[in-house]
Amino acid sequence: MNAMPKPAVFPTLLALAVLTAAAAACAPESDSAASAGDAQPGQPASEMQAAPANAATAPELDDADIAAIVVAANTIDIRYGEIARERATNPRVKEFAETMIRDHTAVNESAVELVTRLGVKPRENDVSRSLEAQAAEMREMLQAKSGAEFDRAYIDNEVAYHRAVLQAIDETLIPNAKNAELKQMLVDVRPAVQAHLEHAQSIQRSLTAGA
């Protein structure tokens, strides 16, 4: 079950690719991998292919925009997790989904508490709207799958999504955050995203080995 998904399978990443437009020059030339060093067998090759097409303009973001993007990005992964809670069959995938729901809920609570205290009102913007719209397509795709095919699609997306979020944190969100506490919150969130990525990659490898 290593069929390569079409690029449209990872639409949410298009918006994140806008965020990371600066990385477009490093985008892979082939289907080989999304980034050097951590490619996995059977890994979807489409996840970063959107970057060059969106490289024209990097958005200018203020703290209100960033707050909305953070909340949107967490909420999207919570909703993926809720689908996986219902549809996943592999126990590790189910546990991972519960962890995603738990962690991203906690991060969102922390983020909302912070921006409320700072008086920063999250403001919807092109990136957050695009993330949400494209995540809806991904949810529809996931809802159409079941069994091992679902497990694989969910975990593949989690790997791609967390990798893209990590890149957005590093290259766009942290550098653009003005308020020191908001910037620190992004720094504090980064290890969670990194750990989630490594956890998802570990499960992805086990699914590939068992395929």
């Binding site: 962690d103 906690a106 991060v107 504090d188 969130v189 750990a195 490594e198 956890h199 570990s202």
Partner: protein
């Protein structure tokens, strides 16, 4: 092995601002009480393992039987301290929650966060 949970409820939990002071005080108290590692003949020490940014600090800790080890979650997401061999488990520790263990037998305990298997550490209990 005796387990002692001192999970602070959210309302009573120390604030983030207070945690460094608390942690420092705990370390200081342990240090004053025990000097070096106490061992059987000495006064039991208090050791603090801080969980922050998805790592246990320190990631290797040597204690003596009878000492107290306190795990303090300073992260923004829940974690656990779970013995790989099943001897003990903190359960889910929310932000600012703490859990204590008093080892009663020597041994090497490799433990993880059950929620985040990339988080690993070792507790060495000496006689």
């Amino acid at each position: 092995m005796r387990r002692r949970s001192t999970l602070a409820g959210r309302p009573a939990a120390p604030t983030r601002m207070g945690l460094p002071v608390l942690a420092a005080a705990m370390v200081l108290a342990g240090s004053v009480a025990g000097g070096c590692r106490a061992g059987r003949a000495g006064t039991p020490e208090l050791h603090v393992v801080e969980i922050e940014r998805f790592v246990f600090r320190p990631d290797t800790l040597r204690v003596s039987v009878g000492d107290t080890v306190a795990w303090l979650n300073r992260d923004i997401v829940p974690h656990t301290a779970t013995d790989g061999a099943g001897a003990w488990d903190s359960g889910v520790l929310g932000t600012d929650a703490e859990w204590r263990l008093v080892p009663t037998a020597p041994g090497v305990h490799r433990y993880v966060c059950a929620l985040h298997p990339t988080m690993e550490a070792v507790l060495i209990v000496e006689d």
